[in-house]
């Protein structure tokens, strides 16, 4: 598939001590590529996760939700090409079989095995292919993160990863993340499959709070089409091999630095997903200020970022700010038409409920011809603020989704 015009080069991702990835061909689809990933995690690895809020989650999501309560991980298995969602008892059986076989191979409890699957909904994951694939993976040589991104992707047009570092308790800790996703992306909880590995030592409660906090500022602030997958998950694993005293709470040495690094990593990963939004040609940042509360600002930003009419206008490089007014108006949040201000890029278009006098569209037109578009909305009511990232809605989205077969 042609890479998105918004693609970014894959960065140089370092190894993380205690986390070893391997990939194999399970053959979940009729394709010539690796589609099963097995990551072995050394004893002592802690885990945190954020999972889809869908009321119809996959059995993998149910499994991870239960396993996360224990806080420890020894393995991650990722299947691509079949999400195993909405497959009843057979789907649950497949998940349990994968956990059992992996636990047996590396000598751990099944609840130490985390599982994520992505792809078609409604077709039970074939257990025989999963088990054969796992056996291949157990014997495969370790691979680089770059290979893992290929093995977890589906409709992605480019591999997505990021790295950050922090000094924690005198040790430099490294965080790497790989992520897949380009459609069925909406906020309100993890909106794709993302996996973060760090050699930092961190207690599971701390890691969970840190991931939830980072998620609220990253994965929960992106949308491609407002559709939410049944399988979305972001999991973070901390192997503890950097040698720092384990992060236990925000008073622990280096906690702030770790938060900053994780926030940064998650935000970069989230933006990569938007950059690979199906059919995307422009990355759109919606900044809402002056709302009654941050929550209200978030909802208004969401309404603008999900509006098909706003997104098609940006695709057409049309400074159609009236559609932004429409999207603010339909959000159902407190808004006063006569206090509302709107800008595109640095150019104020409307202020206090009216187009500004002497509005010059030229700089706006120039801004809209670029690949990174900023829409600013000020409600003039209070201090509530939020940012949401999305992409434009183009013929490419229709082509991908009216053809992509269930």
């Amino acid at each position: 598939m042609t890479p998105s015009p918004l693609a970014r080069p894959f960065p140089d991702l370092p190894a993380i001590a205690g986390a070893t990835a391997r990939t194999a061909r399970a053959g979940y689809k009729d394709w010539d590529r690796c589609d099963l990933t097995f990551v072995a995690l050394d004893p002592g690895t802690t885990v945190a996760g954020v999972l889809t809020q869908s009321r119809c989650p996959s059995p993998e999501v149910d499994w991870c939700r239960a396993a996360l309560t224990l806080g420890h991980a020894r393995a991650l298995v990722v299947n691509a090409g079949n999400s195993n969602a909405f497959t009843g008892a057979r789907g649950r059986d497949a998940v349990e079989a994968i956990a059992a076989r992996t636990a047996q191979a590396i000598g751990c409890r099944p609840s130490d095995v985390f599982i994520a699957s992505t792809g078609v909904i409604g077709v039970p994951l074939p257990v025989d292919k999963a088990e054969a694939g796992l056996d291949l993976a157990f014997r495969s040589p370790p691979c680089a993160w770059r290979e893992m991104t290929d093995a977890i992707g589906t409709t992605d047009t480019f591999p997505k990863g990021a790295v950050t570092r922090a000094v924690v308790d005198g040790r430099t800790v490294t965080l790497v993340g790989v992520i897949k996703g380009s459609g069925m992306i909406a906020p309100d909880m993890a909106t794709m499959l993302g996996f973060i590995f760090t050699d930092a030592a961190a207690g599971p409660e701390f890691l969970q709070r840190a991931l939830s906090r980072a998620n609220a500022r990253s994965f929960s602030c992106i949308t491609v089409d407002g559709d939410t997958s049944t399988s979305d998950a972001v999991l973070a694993f901390a192997t503890g091999q950097a040698g720092n005293a384990a992060l236990a709470d925000d008073e622990s040495p280096g906690a702030d630095a770790f938060h900053a690094a994780l926030d940064d990593l998650c935000r970069r990963l989230a933006l990569l997903v938007v950059r690979d939004g199906e059919g995307a040609t422009k990355l759109i940042e919606v900044r809402v200020t002056g709302a009654e509360s941050d929550r209200s600002a978030h909802r208004i930003a969401q309404s603008v970022a999900n509006s098909p009419l706003v997104k098609t206008a940006i695709a057409g490089e049309d400074a159609n700010w009236g559609r932004v007014v429409m999207a603010v108006g339909k959000a159902g949040e407190p808004a006063d038409r006569d206090l509302l201000s709107i800008r595109f890029g640095d150019t104020q278009v409307a202020r206090a409920g009216m187009r500004v006098e002497a509005y010059d569209e030229a700089p706006v037109a120039t801004h809209l011809r670029g690949h990174q578009i900023e829409i600013g909305v000020d409600l003039g009511l209070g201090d509530g603020a939020a940012i949401m990232w999305t992409c434009d809605l183009t013929h490419g989205y229709i082509s991908i989704n009216a053809d992509y077969r269930s």
Copy 2:
């Protein structure tokens, strides 16, 4: 513009005694057509209305909301090509000028004049053009409803109208409706400009309750793109010239018949709007049953009907029921994955959380090649039911909306 493939022929609409339409060229846009409509209503005409729930409504909507509290109407003025929304004090001045000039011309109070405008947001309606257009309209010969539909349309690809009759108090009363709208269509209140005229006599309170009830079963159950206009309004005018004893409440003779006729008229008008959905090639009926409540069913139906992934799947004639599961799951309403059943047309696809054994896609494929698609979702939880109508999401929608200039 090429008519929608789902277009319906315009019906033969009779005159309504006491309501006389005239059209004129105000020239709100650079086009060669009538774009101002003036309907004179005889003294004694009552009025009801349902208006957009947008927090950023046009001054026309504000005006109508205030005037509706009085319950009487002598005139309707409709402008096409400029919605006058988000235009500050100048927009309000334009509305007041139109009301004043019309009131003076026909000898009524300004508050007896109802006004609706549709088109570009953010450009104040030019008062000089409105006044000159009105003066032309006052002197024009009366026109048929068919001509009015042309004068109120904007991106519509075919004229939309309907007629029903009822026997009320021994008299046959007639209801005609004309409507415009094809994009920026979402439920939760009138989602287009619609005008209903009847010769029945009906008190304004009764008429308002009847219209609100009909709206809940029609205009509030359609969506094209989930976007809600700043100008949406449906107004109903009852001239009272059929000679029936005025309908005052549900105990009045003929109240049931009137309700049935109005419900039917509104539903037919609403479906015409979906049939003209921007880029639509298929009319989709989403029927949700077994939800915990009707309200919950409505929200789930809305989530399915607004899902870009469901709508593109239908455009591609793809029986991608997994996307229906996804849309149910993201609605945030009570749902149990393992009780969920889904059908396309008459064919059950999934039952109790799994694809049915021996699922045969052939009849589904045949159904999806047609122009009227039915998606059935049963939650298996309770008695809540709802229907929502929408259309597919196609390249046509992108073409129309990435080009249409603000």
